[in-house]
Amino acid sequence: MYTRSADIELVNEILAQWFPSMIDRVFLDDSREGRTISALRIHAGEETDRRGVLFVGGTHARELLNPDALVDLTIGLLAHYFSGTDWVIGGRTWDAGILCSAMRTLDIFILPNANPDGREYVFDTNRMWRKNRAPLADQACVGVDLNRNFDLLWGIQTISPGGGITTSTSPCSDVYVGPGAFSEPETRNVKTLLDSHNIDCLVDVHSFSELVLYPWGHALNQTTDSSQRFTLVDTSGWKELPTDAPDYKEYIPPADLERFEKMGADAAQAIKDVRGRSYTVQPSSALYPTTGTTSDYAYARHVADPALRKVYGFTFETGPWTGDAEESFQPPFPEANRIMEEAISGLLSVLHLCATGATSGQ
């Protein structure tokens, strides 16, 4: 089911009320139109020194099923924790012990609906809306693409190999970067969570294409030349990528790349186990080049400032391209439920790997 923004927040409110020892409702900045935005911090047991995981949904408004998947993940985690039962998701069984261990080891942050204004605009006005609903000074157009608004090479346009603009400085574009990095409360909220907690792993859940994406998005990856980093090279002349740096490849440490590939492959397998759908694991740039995205920013923080915690940032693209835009962004039921189950199984894989220390190498 696709749930309205107010009801998603109501679920957060009720869960925090029902389970005060296990759930903290983290109030973040209100949206541009004044809607409440909160995340849940879920934790069981007495452990105080916890690593965190952050799952984000609803960044792009029209990708409706991901916030509902995160609501269902939250409820399912609690239900199986309390009942001590395995979680059977299609052909995949998640052992109760694994779920319990994740709950007792981690701080699990779930921000189910990062862009409530956009979601409501989809329900009420335009079901194909992607951005938030920021009014833009002196502009006829509305909204910022939140997944281009983060502070990683912010404002540098990107262009696909076929010539398509995939990050834009034009306010009317659906991939508009915004008037400044972190200009939007909805993006600052993710930064706030990363700044305030020991988060090791982030998954920003989008639709569609059946992909598990990892950094980098702005350039191809390479593991041999550590001088080729966005923090070390002069990027002041970059207005558009790859046009202004056609041969540039971004360094990623081999150990980090191995972890990204391992975690991504495990998530894809957990997804496939549900009903056989194969998600492709690849760097974001293999889909199309981007700057200012959520998951790249999460990982880039440690590169820009080694004092900050390393965050393994992923983007899931749930569900297939069906040939029909409405169906691909908003699958009808019961197919939507199957895609949500896949997303949940993939996210449980990430939780499991984080809980068992796969991301503990800082």
Partner: protein, 105 residues
């Protein structure tokens, strides 16, 4: 008062395939087309991609030299009966009722 954006919002929207030479695709970037990112197909000379298009954008694309194949009209109205929560979201919480901490067992 109606902004340009609101006016554009009300115009008919189509899903279609745009096909053009790479240079043309680059040039039409200024049209702010809502491309379905990830749908791009590229060969040596041409790029094609799926997009959501207003009629004025279709006209501009054709004028620029692109080939546009319109597949269907997008109904921007959300199909409430079909897709909105068929079950009260609070129903989904019922499975957790037996475990509530805030009530006497």
């Amino acid at each position: 008062m109606t902004t340009q954006d609101e006016s554009a919002e009300r115009s008919t929207l189509f899903q279609g395939t745009v096909s053009a030479g790479h240079d043309v695709v680059r040039a039409i970037g200024e049209l702010d087309i809502d491309r379905l990112l990830g749908s791009e197909q590229i060969n040596d000379t041409r790029t094609s991609f799926e997009a959501l298009l207003r009629l004025d954008q279709v006209e501009a694309l054709v004028t620029a030299g692109a080939t546009v194949t319109l597949k269907r009209t997008i109904d921007r109205t959300f199909p409430t009966q079909q897709l909105l929560a068929q079950v009260d979201p609070l129903e989904r919480l019922r499975v957790l009722e037996p475990f509530r901490e805030d009530q006497e067992k």
